[in-house]
Amino acid sequence: MIRFLVKGLLRDPNRSVFPVLIVGAGVMITVLFYCWVLGVREDITRTSAVLDTGHVKITTKAYGEIPGQMPNDLALSGIGRLVPELFRDCPEMDWVPRIKFGGLLDFPDDKGETRVQGPVLGMAVDLLTPGSTEVRRLNLAGAIVRGRLPEKPGEILVSEEFAEKLGVDLYETATLISATATGGMAVQNFILAGTVRFGIGVMDKGTLIADITDIQYALDMADSASEILGFFPDMNFDEVRALGEKTRFNAVYENIRDEFSPVMTTLKDQSGPGEYLDWVDRWIFIFIFVFILVMSIVLWNTGLMSGIRRYGEIGVRLAIGESKGHVYQALIGEALATGMAGSILGTFLGLGFSYYLQEVGIDISGMLQSAAILFPNILKAKIGSGAFYIGFIPGLGATVLGSLVSGISIFSRETSQLFKELET
């Protein structure tokens, strides 16, 4: 009997091919959407961590209250002692000091007068120590558009867009005009070693990257840094571990009433990415819930229509002597088979497209010309473990549910009524 029913199922495209395709399409969209949202979330997290927040960040308590102003007069001092302590207490993480600063970058003419100048947002990182993890983490080698990475003190990188706008060439002298940590005027000459493009709108407008030792000297910040960032080795933000590290670190300084004492925050604590990630997580949940609900209704309807379309056939089978329970079981069995086949097909296709988007992504730089947040120009999907089963919720669940509901009418109607529906 099972063989007989399977034969019928395979021969009737309205019962097998079309439902499988519809379920497959719905599941594929669900999986793709899930991976896409996951990828965008991870891109944003990673970008924020690498360029701004780290997975954890240590600043002074005072600096931590107004980080957007880059108040280097409130910077951390004694980092020569603090960083080794961090490596000792938490050796699995990478700890790096950075200085953030603002200023004007001035390019003089032959007579030493200003030829062009523009505002820059500066980031001082360890560029020159052999084996520096910052060069790799920021992917500076990959971001180089012209020139090369700084190889000796006094060399800087600027964003390509900034260099183009100002019309400056490689190896020109550039003068940084800024403020020292003590409130004085800082003026320091550098050589433009190369230009970079990060693929992040806000970073590509006017960023200056210099070695931290040069900037410590220029801004009178010896043994100081705006912040110390901590990164997990796999570069994935682990909220639980980050929270544990934060609790451990802050406990040491908890009773110190000094506004210059250090405090650790996690990526999620920091007002920009933290709030954003909370917002993204909330909307991911809502989007996925609504999307799965919509797909479930569509696929439930498919199961329902498939059942209703077959009232006539069901009537004949009942007349021939098949029991209602057996017909109902057969309908659900078919829905399980088509739902499973469609879910597997859709998951496979969804994972395929997601893999493509994970590797290649979609370039949205055109939409981010005036963006002021750290947002990657190329959005990529990410295949998470949920992608392997999330499509089965609408694909299998809703299809079977549709058949369960449509099949109930087999019991609720007079058998003879099924014939009338066949004949009309």
């Binding site: 007989f4 009737d12 209602k324 058998t415 066949l422």
Partner: protein, 239 residues
């Protein structure tokens, strides 16, 4: 051998809701059908023919009254028991044939036997015999869409007869057929009735069917107005 009573109805009433009112499809029907009968329920549309046929076939239930089929009170049967009754004792043919379109002729005829859990070899023998009865041995692998109306109805009869049921209920079996095909079908049914002893009960208002009946029950407005034994028409060919 004395003919056995296969079906008995007693004061059978069937109402259908029609808007706020009830439509009486059957009104106090008391009637019996014996084995080997070749009986027609005749009457105009709406007279209750199909309703009576459906109730006898346990496809519908009466509002009041009693129906016994093969000694079983169909009003007390569960869905499963009613299905079992149909599966063993009853065969159906329909005006629109109602063949399962995705299956071949052979498979359509085989289907009732699958429900009886018959062994494959026995099943094959029975299917081939049924196809031989209706003269469709050469169409075994055809799909219903490849058959003419007459051929489709013959498949429908083979499907009804393959399990050698005691009773075949035929609802307007010739309504969609031309005269030649109608006569062929009816002659085949007469032959099966006489050779296998199967009871045929028709619902029909086709004069061609009426000409073949051994018993004619006329229904009007849900009531039996005439129950008559018929003389065989002269020269009726049962071969």
């Amino acid at each position: 051998m004395e003919d056995q009573i296969l079906i008995a109805t007693e004061r059978l009433v069937k109402h259908y809701p029609m808007g706020k009112h009830l439509f009486t499809a059957l009104n106090d029907i008391t009637i019996t059908f014996k084995s080997r009968e070749f009986t027609g329920l005749v009457g105009p549309s709406g007279s209750g023919k199909t309703t009576l046929l459906n109730i006898i076939g346990a496809l519908d239930s009466p509002t009041r009254g009693l129906v016994r089929v093969m000694g079983q009170d169909t009003g007390t049967l569960s869905h499963k028991q009613a299905a079992r009754l149909r599966s063993i004792y009853l065969g159906f043919t329909f005006q629109t044939y109602n063949l399962l379109p995705v299956y071949t002729v052979y498979e359509n005829v085989e289907f009732p036997l699958l429900l009886l859990d018959m062994a494959p070899a026995q099943r094959k023998k029975a299917v081939l015999q049924a196809l031989e009865w209706v003269g469709l041995m050469d169409k075994q692998k055809s799909r219903p869409s490849q058959l003419s109306g007459g051929e489709s109805q013959r498949v429908s009869i083979a499907r009804a007869m393959v399990k050698a049921p005691k009773i075949v209920l035929a609802d307007e079996p010739t309504a969609n057929l031309d005269a030649a095909n109608s006569h062929n079908i009816l002659q085949m049914m007469i032959k099966l009735n006489e050779e296998l002893g199967t009871t045929f009960i028709f619902a029909s208002h086709d004069d061609k069917v009426i000409g073949y009946l051994k018993r004619k029950i006329t229904l009007t407005d849900g009531k039996v107005v005439e129950d008559a034994r018929m003389d065989l028409p002269e020269g009726r060919n049962t071969c």
